[in-house]
Symmetry: C2
Subunit: 212 residues, 2 copies
């Protein structure tokens, strides 16, 4: 049943997380105090401890929930057939998802060093799981001869860094629409790894000769 006061746990809880996210993104974890977060919520600092055991957990929960959301959303995405389409789907998904959550992304990539070792490790596992998705796509494309990638791990990291960079400058009301940004990044990523047609023809020729 709904209460007016005395039972705001279900309201205040999310508000605490929202305030923490906003402030961490704006000023950094270490630069934000519990009292600032409390003020943003409209509550005294002590009340925060009804919703989090400590400041560190507040940060870790935000980051873990975000990474889990990324993984879940990618899992739920429709995957087309073929590495080229898969790569396009991945890059478009990544851009779209990240632009819709700029603060979560910012915090997740900036505050890693403020995590306690145990939490850092847990998040690293999740991040590598996500990177693995892209790596698998690149590997498949390489095997099928449609991608020309020198080093798959390096390329994975380079592409993700490029895609993540979008959050540092994109403004929803800016010059470019989300759809346009999505298309441009997706196109660049595709071109960066795709096998040039010349080289492709050469490869096919070699493969043909080898099988004769």
């Amino acid at each position: 049943m709904a209460r007016k006061t005395g039972s705001h746990s279900d309201i205040t809880g999310p508000r605490v997380r929202a305030a923490a996210l906003k402030l961490f993104a704006a000023h950094g974890f270490a630069a934000v105090s519990m009292r600032q977060i409390a003020a943003e919520v409209g509550v005294q600092a002590g009340a925060l401890y009804l919703y989090t055991p400590d400041k560190q957990s507040l940060l870790f929960d935000l980051m873990r929930d975000h990474m889990q959301a990324v993984l879940d959303a990618w899992g739920a995405e429709d995957k087309p057939e073929g590495p080229v389409s898969e790569l396009e789907t991945f890059t478009r998904f990544h851009i779209r998802f990240h632009l819709e959550r700029p603060e979560e992304v910012f915090v997740s990539y900036m505050e890693l060093r403020n995590l306690e070792p145990e939490n850092f490790e847990a998040l690293g596992v999740m991040r590598r799981e996500y990177e693995q998705e892209l790596e698998t796509i690149l590997k498949r494309g390489q095997d099928e001869g449609v991608f020309d990638v020198d080093d798959i791990k390096l390329t994975t990291l380079a592409l993700i860094a490029m895609l993540n960079g979008v959050t540092t400058w994109y403004k929803p009301d800016g010059r470019l629409s989300l759809a346009r940004v999505e298309a441009i990044y997706s196109d660049m990523a595709g071109k960066a790894v795709r096998m040039p047609r010349r080289k492709e023809r050469l490869r096919k020729l070699e493969a043909q000769q080898a099988s004769e």
Copy 2:
């Protein structure tokens, strides 16, 4: 003349900056105290104020000196002719220069939000100046028809983000040599913006017809 104690300004000064850089890179500006920096130097906290007016200046000076070093080094670089070679020179320069100064780079890109507005602005000017160098190369390539870039500003930022990403994972004693990393990134950047040969032929044909 050399003193044993009493006159270490020329030694302690650089050591203070080195300690600050190391600690800021490892834990973040806000998370590092003046006492920690002093301890790293082997001095009491008060002594730091013989070398910097305050903590903020310590950060800003590091970042400004780094950006100035980038600009100077790029200015001194031999520039080949033609956008394709220029782009390769730029990407290789960027990777090499940044991998040789991982801590400066890390601090310069992570601590922007801890700068006071005035310092933030000053650094923004320098960063845009550097980005302008790449933007000019892309623009020239676009005009000459050897690059196929949808949006020059966006592409500039995307490429720089990709190149900067290298500092987050590269380890000098790792699997890949600096030269190899340089080559791979440079290659990816080139492919991401280069005009496909098919499209190039088509363009030339159109241009020819238009001039008849």
